[in-house]
Amino acid sequence: MIQAAEVKDRIREYVLEEFAKTKGIDQITDDEVLTKNGIIDSMGIFRLVAFLEETFNVRVGDEEITHDNLESIDAIEKLVLSKAKK
């Protein structure tokens, strides 16, 4: 069972390892807009969602795959935590 405090760290680690580093970016801030600099592309969005569903045992519907929900590490954490409450 993943603790709420760990959620952000896990997300940050995944985004860094899977997306940022392979594109030559060593660090990202939690409020940085991930889609702005091409860190995440159109296929990457779905890999990210699959990771969230598998790691945090949540279901992210297609209609929830929006800029507001996924634009930054902060936003993604918020999305995941809001589902854990249900």
Binding site: K23, G24, M43, E63
Partner: protein, 524 residues
């Protein structure tokens, strides 16, 4: 009849001054605004030394100011060079240097990405937003000091350059395709006739502005006094948001690469109601798998569907209007027949016209064809060749490198490439450009880059590398190195490290063997 692109704007601004011309992120500007702001920008550029034929770079994320900038540069007699805002600084710097960009229109944020060396090459930067210190910086607000009512006096003809679009180069550096007003207008006029674009139309712009699909979105909008809806990066990556956007903005004409449409189909929660306003759907840039095209056809019953084909060097040169009644039995989608004012030939390796059923390379002639690559006479002579079928005078034609056949139905069908250029998500990628990037790494002894077919995006990129010293290089390291040289969509997703690459009997890298060996064995 317009003979330079900016006349399309002037005419529409006279007829429909208060109509929205460009929409982005929920706000829009009118034709009057677009006309006046671009006049002001043109005067500013002239005052800062821009003369006819000078290159002005555009380096910022897509927004209303992008369109103002394009038209402002044209009105100053300049040539605009759209630079991919997501490309690495090294690549952008190369392009700026290669075509001699004199003034760069950018924003404070993107300007920081560029090296001091690159910035030293340009005379001034116009900032669409943000501030900075420096005598070479011009704030967007300074536009207000210049006249609104007319553009500067410049003598232009249709064969003057309008823009340069850089595409992947096989020998390692991107090459700049030079495009004149006539090149663009030939395409725009054919589109206007074929799709009957009117002032009631609402065109989306999905493609980045450095990609020639956007030429239709922007200039056919201006030609018809319609409105263009810019799809910015906050929308582009989110299929459900895109589906809602089409419905909410009542888009009537959509043009994009097939993979964008496929993502919409698979994840956009599309319904026929959402696509109600769409009367024309155009796609180009890569092969559209029949399976997904049939799904699209089912859900978009109100739309005409068109497959458009053509390299940047000619813009669209052939087209096929989908015959819905044939979709069920069709195995492969044709690229169709030549557009108006364009002629295509299929030529055998012996230089003769191919017979029906015989494969040949597609050549294109007509006023849509580029004069060549900026400052690259060698590549130009290779691809823009003498038309030996023309006996009466000297004329050029462009060899596309695409192998085609003519079907029973009289349509051209794409069979494959003559070389190692591939498409991935509609992006044109020379595998050689990625190989050159890898080989430039001091630790790399050998490198080969291969395409791995993918159902949705066309191809994934796989690199096979043999370092000088076994075990000295890591996958991530190589990907990061590539990231500093090539755009993100060219970074190899799969990297296999070998001690030595397999060779054929003639000593060349055996790509067939590499392709058959399991890919991704050592993926990070």
């Amino acid at each position: 009849m317009a003979y330079v692109l900016q006349q399309l704007l002037t005419k529409s601004a006279k007829a429909y001054p208060d109509k929205p011309a460009v929409w982005a992120r929920g706000t829009s500007i009118t034709y009057r605004d677009l006309d006046e702001r671009s006049n002001q920008l043109a005067h500013l550029l002239r005052q800062r030394g821009i003369q006819k034929g000078d290159c002005v770079g555009l380096f910022f994320p897509k927004c209303v100011e992008s369109i103002v900038s394009m038209l402002g540069v044209l009105k100053a007699g300049g040539v605009y060079v759209p630079l991919d805002p997501q490309a690495p600084a090294d690549r952008v710097g190369y392009i700026i240097s290669n075509c001699g960009v004199r003034i760069l229109i950018t924003n404070a944020d993107k300007r920081k990405d560029l090296s001091a060396e690159t910035l030293g090459l340009v005379e001034a930067c116009v900032l669409t937003e943000g501030n900075g210190n420096g005598a070479d910086l011009i704030a967007w607000s300074q536009l207000s000091e210049f006249p609104v009512s007319h553009a500067p006096e410049v003598t232009l003809v249709e064969t003057d350059l309008a823009y340069i679009l850089y595409t992947s180069g096989s020998t390692g550096r991107p090459k700049g395709v030079m495009l004149t007003h006539q090149n663009a207008l030939t395409f725009v006029e054919w589109c206007a006739e074929e799709f009957k674009v009117s002032s009631n139309d609402r065109l989306s712009n999905h493609a980045p502005l450095h990609f020639d699909l956007s030429v239709f979105d922007v200039y056919n909008t201006l030609q018809a006094s319609a409105t263009v809806y810019l799809i910015t990066e906050d929308l582009a990556l989110f299929p459900t948001s895109l589906g809602n956007f089409i419905e909410n903005q009542k888009i009537t004409i959509w043009y994009s690469v097939p993979s964008a449409l496929m993502l919409l189909l698979l994840h956009g929660r599309l319904t026929p109601e959402k696509l109600n306003s769409l009367r024309v759907i155009l796609f180009a840039g890569e092969v559209f798998p029949m399976k997904y095209l049939r799904q699209l056809a089912e859900i978009s019953t109100k739309s005409d569907l068109y497959n458009l084909y053509g390299p940047t060097e000619t813009n669209v040169c052939t087209f096929y209007k989908v015959e819905r009644e044939r979709l069920a039995e069709m195995e492969k989608l044709p690229i169709g027949i030549a557009c108006a004012n364009t002629e295509c030939f299929s030529v055998t390796p012996q230089g003769k016209l191919a017979e029906k059923g015989e494969a040949g390379e597609l050549y294109v002639r007509g006023p849509s064809v580029t004069y060549g690559y900026w400052a690259d006479p060698e590549k130009t002579h290779k691809m823009v060749v003498a038309n030996h079928f023309q006996e009466n005078f000297e004329e050029k034609m462009y060899r596309t490198g695409d192998i085609v056949t003519v079907g029973e139905d009289g349509n051209y069908y794409f069979q494959g490439r003559r070389d190692s250029m591939i498409k991935s998500r509609g992006y044109r990628i020379e595998l050689g450009e990625i190989e050159t990037a890898l080989l430039s790494h001091p630790g790399v002894r050998e490198a080969a880059v291969l395409a791995v077919p993918d159902e949705i995006i066309g191809n994934r990129i796989r690199a096979v590398v043999a370092p000088h010293i076994a075990g000295s290089l890591g996958v991530l390291e190589l990907q990061q190195y590539c990231a500093s040289r090539v755009p993100k969509y060219m970074i190899p997703e799969l990297v296999d490290l070998y001690d030595e690459l397999p060779k054929t009997s003639t000593g060349k890298i055996d790509r067939v063997k590499l392709a058959s060996e399991r890919a991704g064995a050592m993926r990070a």
